[in-house]
């Protein structure tokens, strides 16, 4: 298997929040992917200077059509370009799917807890959408931590998948009345308990993933049932 660079033509760009965009690509001969996998994107300047970054696939493939969600990182090299400068019909190079561990398939046959920090929701959204598409009745519970209502990706859609969603805000009071603050061990009580036989996926910035995964282990979850993906060094 060779992962070749493929031309991805921008088919659609949707505003998710003021600082993030869903970008939809048409990729001829896309081979398909599992929920949770990512792609590498390569941008190349006129003089050949090029950079690469990874972005999670946000939804199951629709034939040759795939989508990602990019959050603009201040002073970033790639994400501000993708969010502010990319236009429909632009062609950029990408390759994938990549990553065979942080994935969910309907055949898993277990309840699932999802824990997302900020843009860490993206691969988990792919799992939620894949579950709906497959008509799976796997019990999904999502705990989603974001700065505040303005930073909540997929806010409208999340309520429509028939799964339990709990949103907490780090910088303002949460809908439940929870005071502002980063994820705390007691927040995890909305997820499947340690003895439910569930698998847990945790995705977000490193500090968030460390805190959530450690709290789950402290609460008796078998580390072997927890799969993590870390997006970046810092942030929400």
């Amino acid at each position: 298997m060779v992962l070749r660079w493929l031309p991805g033509k921008v088919a659609d760009i949707r505003v998710e929040t003021p600082t993030s965009r869903t970008i939809v690509f048409d990729v001829p001969d896309w081979a398909g992917h599992l929920a949770g996998q990512h792609i590498d994107v390569r941008l190349t300047a006129e003089d050949g200077y090029s950079v690469q970054r990874s972005y999670s696939l946000a939804a199951p493939a629709d034939e040759d059509r795939i989508e990602i969600l990019v959050q603009k990182v201040t002073d970033g090299e790639v994400s501000p370009f993708l969010v502010d400068d990319l236009l429909p019909d632009d062609v950029i190079e990408l390759r994938g799917p990549i990553g065979g561990w942080f994935t969910w398939e309907p055949s898993l046959g277990k309840p699932v807890s999802l824990v997302a920090g900020g843009s860490g929701i993206v691969p988990l959204m792919a799992m939620i959408r894949a579950r709906t598409q497959a008509g799976s009745d796997a019990g999904f519970k999502l705990l989603y931590s974001v700065r505040g209502p303005a930073d909540e990706y997929y806010a409208e859609e999340l309520g429509k998948h028939g799964i339990e969603v709990t949103t907490i805000y780090t910088r303002s009071e949460s809908p439940s009345g929870r005071p502002p603050g980063r994820i705390r061990p007691e927040d995890l009580s909305v997820l499947w308990p340690a003895d439910a036989g569930a698998r847990t996926y945790v995705c977000g910035p490193t500090g968030f993933v460390e805190a959530a995964a450690q709290a789950l282990v402290d609460q008796g979850h078998d580390p072997g049932t927890i799969r993590t993906e870390r997006f970046g060094p810092s942030g929400g």
């Binding site: 992962l3 300047a45 090029s50 950079v51 400068d85 927890i226 993590t228």
Partner: protein, 198 residues
């Protein structure tokens, strides 16, 4: 030939010679497949098993008693970040191999928490690899692989297994965790061997 991206210039940090597709970071990002295992120094052990099945084990105290080195090296993660001039303290793998009778060509590295990775023995010897227990003058933090991790800086950093607990030597090559999940078997950053087939 790559496709030029309309309007893209790039930031171009005073880029030193980085392997292709890598960018410079000043942070120390973390990549792990699961929760961080917490291993106490006094519980830590490292075992080399040779191709005949003979085992040689070192404890934390044994490790500290061995002659240490302070390598300063550049590291390159397959998720694209590189970090230059990182400084470590640890023991050269050559020192461990002196105690082991082997002619094996391949090694599987095992970690606490179940992680594995594979590499040729020749990439572990002749001053190319260490078991490190200090980073930038401090004990190595659990997120970064403490109490002890492998350091093999000339390969992508997933080969530098965190929470290392052993090496199994054999005449046949057995792919490790990421290597069975589509990542490259060898992982040379200068040849951009990220994924299987690169």
């Amino acid at each position: 030939m790559s496709i030029v991206t309309r309007g893209f210039r790039g930031r171009r940090d005073s880029a030193p010679d980085l392997p292709p597709g890598q960018y410079l970071t000043r942070d120390f990002p973390v990549l792990s497949a699961g929760p961080t295992p917490r291993i106490k120094q006094d519980d830590w052990q490292f075992t080399i098993t040779n191709e005949a099945g003979d085992k040689h084990t070192w404890t934390w105290r044994d490790l500290l008693a061995l002659p240490s080195e302070q390598p300063t090296v550049d590291i390159h993660c397959v998720t694209k970040w590189s970090k230059l001039q990182t400084s470590w303290q640890g023991v050269s793998l050559d020192t461990f191999f002196e105690a082991v009778d082997t002619g094996a060509d391949y090694a599987v590295v095992r970690s606490y928490g179940g992680y594995t990775t594979n590499l040729p023995v020749e990439d572990l010897v002749d001053g190319k690899a260490w078991l490190v227990y200090r980073y930038e003058g401090d004990d190595l933090h659990p997120e970064h692989g403490g109490p002890v991790r492998l350091l093999v800086p000339h390969l992508y950093f997933w080969k530098s297994a965190k929470w290392v607990k052993g090496l199994e030597l054999s005449d046949d090559e057995q792919p490790g965790f990421w290597e069975t999940l589509g990542y490259h078997n060898y992982g040379d950053p200068w040849r951009e061997q990220r994924y299987s087939g690169d």
